[in-house]
């Protein structure tokens, strides 16, 4: 045997496994999108998921945003004071929240909450044969389970992030007026004056993409879960890890598309 083969073989195996996984996820994504566009539509399931994924994620997103906005205000004030630029606190908090931190941190927090629960739920359904039961009851699991979750997350995330943006800005404002001695009216005026509509829109578009990714990863890993408790546990972990990594990757790509001139 060639002496280099034992070194290259594991690398080759890993690359092939990675390519196969990318292929499977791509096919799953294509199927999901095609089922989103074709009837039948399960409105009741969609509304139920909108409640679970959207409404019940509000506390997580809100708490993340308020503390992020508050910490951001402190950091920018401290950094800005080195060159007498404390007045930029409101505008940078606002831009930082709506363009970057709102969607990214919101996406990561919702990924932790939703991708894990979706993967665990669908994984348990798979190991207890509930997904097979759906098929025997003439119901396509992609349509009945994946589409409502993916669609609900894609539509709910921009709303969640919009609320999170507002709460984050309020967090910065609260710290600004109580700890940093900034004027309340001037803070709010600065925020509104410097914020452009594209700042907000780009963040909300990012949020929609992140919502799609996190629900898709939850569904993919759940529906391909291994057997038993260990299989479901692994599916849950993989869902959160892959959703988080893909959100950060997509964030870089979208930021490049939106803002590099």
């Amino acid at each position: 045997m060639n002496p280099i083969t034992p070194i290259l073989a594991p690398i080759g195996h890993s690359v092939l496994a990675l390519l196969a996984a990318i292929g499977r996820v791509t096919i799953f994504t294509g199927k999901s999108v095609s089922h989103i566009l074709r009837p039948p539509f399960y409105l009741r399931e969609f509304l139920s998921q909108l409640l679970h994924i959207g409404y019940f994620s509000l506390p997580v997103v809100g708490l993340t945003a308020v503390f992020t906005g508050a910490a951001l205000a402190l950091q920018i004030f401290e950094g800005g004071s080195r060159f007498n630029a404390e007045s930029v606190v409101p505008s940078i908090v606002a831009i930082g929240m709506v363009r970057e931190l709102g969607p990214v941190l919101g996406g990561l927090m919702v990924a932790g909450r939703v991708a894990s629960s979706v993967a665990a739920e669908l994984g348990t359904m798979k190991v207890t044969e509930q997904i097979d039961a759906l098929v025997t009851l003439s119901t396509n699991p992609m349509k009945y389970l994946t589409v409502p979750r993916v669609l609900a997350a894609t539509l709910a995330m921009p709303v969640l992030v919009a609320v999170g943006d507002a709460i984050g800005i309020m967090g910065g404002w609260l710290v600004g007026i109580t700890k940093l001695g900034l004027n309340s009216g001037a803070y709010l005026k600065n925020t509104v004056d410097f914020l452009e509509s594209w700042d907000v829109t780009s963040g909300l578009l990012k949020a929609a993409v992140f919502g799609f990714i996190l629900a898709l990863m939850g569904c993919y890993h759940g529906m391909n879960s291994g057997r038993g408790a260990q299989g479901v546990g692994r599916a849950t972990t993989n869902a959160v890890v892959s959703a988080s990594v893909l959100i950060l990757t997509a964030n870089y790509i979208l930021t490049t598309l939106f803002f590099s001139s």
């Binding site: 039948p40 399960y42 509930q130 097979d132 098929v135 009851l137 003439s138 119901t139």
Partner: protein, 252 residues
């Protein structure tokens, strides 16, 4: 000669190096109750899942009333089947009546909610459950009750063919007897074709018209249940008499 309701022709299925089915030939006639027996891991469930399209055979053909199982309108095909899963496979997020009426609440068989609920309650009564059970969740039921709900769901849309995957596993002998009687009664009164997978010999004797033994990926023996005890087949004898000694290795 009448055409079999379900026919397996030289069906093969492998999972990696594990060759589970190695040329299955089996026919189930209309209105007949076929019970498939065999050791754990011999591919009995795989056989049923291949008919329903949950798994795809590597080779061979499965015909339902002479037509290949994987061709034609999938919804119409599946609408002919009902299945009771080993663990019940009830949907945790739905109440009992919504589980039973699942098919009647969506798709081509969709009916008004009140009507679907009334049918579900009637089916629950048929399997010996009271109306108050209808609004409970599956997690609130005992194993025997979950099996009955699964049975009610399998028969809710009046299917022509019903599959029972280990219907008495995990139940006490009395509850097993109740489930066996229910299956026999329901299959007879509906005139349905049934395929049951089980290790439980009391189930075989209660449910079967015909018995097939699956061993080593092939049908080892098939015939009427009344001839099972005098088959002269050493594999079948060992299995039905639960003997550790014999041609079937205890460690597989």
């Amino acid at each position: 000669m009448t055409r079999p309701m379900i026919e397996f022709r030289d069906v093969y299925k492998s999972f990696g190096d594990n060759h589970v089915l190695r040329g299955i030939d089996l026919s189930v006639n209309k209105g007949e109750s076929m019970v498939i027996i065999g050791g754990s891991g011999t591919g009995k469930s795989v056989l049923l899942k291949c008919v329903l399209g949950l798994l795809h055979p590597d080779k061979g053909e499965i015909l339902v009333e002479g037509r290949p199982a994987e061709q034609g309108d999938r919804d119409a095909f599946l609408a002919r089947f009902g299945m009771l899963f080993q663990g019940g496979a009830l949907f945790d997020s739905m109440t009992v009546w919504q589980n039973v009426a699942f098919r009647l609440l969506r798709g081509k068989l969709k009916r008004p909610r009140d009507e679907a609920r009334a049918i579900a309650i009637e089916k629950l009564r048929r399997v010996g459950l009271k109306e108050r059970v209808a609004d409970l969740y599956p997690a609130e039921l005992s194993g025997g009750m979950q099996k009955r709900v699964g049975l009610a769901r399998a028969i809710a849309a009046e299917p022509e063919i019903i599959f029972f995957d280990e219907p008495t596993t995990g139940l006490d002998p009395i509850m097993s007897g109740v489930i066996n009687s229910l299956i026999r009664e329901i299959v007879t009164e509906m005139g349905a074709t049934a395929m049951t997978i089980t290790h439980d010999m009391s189930s075989v004797r209660a449910i079967a018209d015909q018995v097939a033994m699956l061993h080593d990926g092939k049908i080892r023996w098939t015939g009427p249940v009344e001839k099972m005890d005098d088959s002269g087949d050493p594999y079948l004898d060992q299995f039905i008499n639960a003997r550790a000694e014999g041609p079937i290795e205890a460690i597989r």
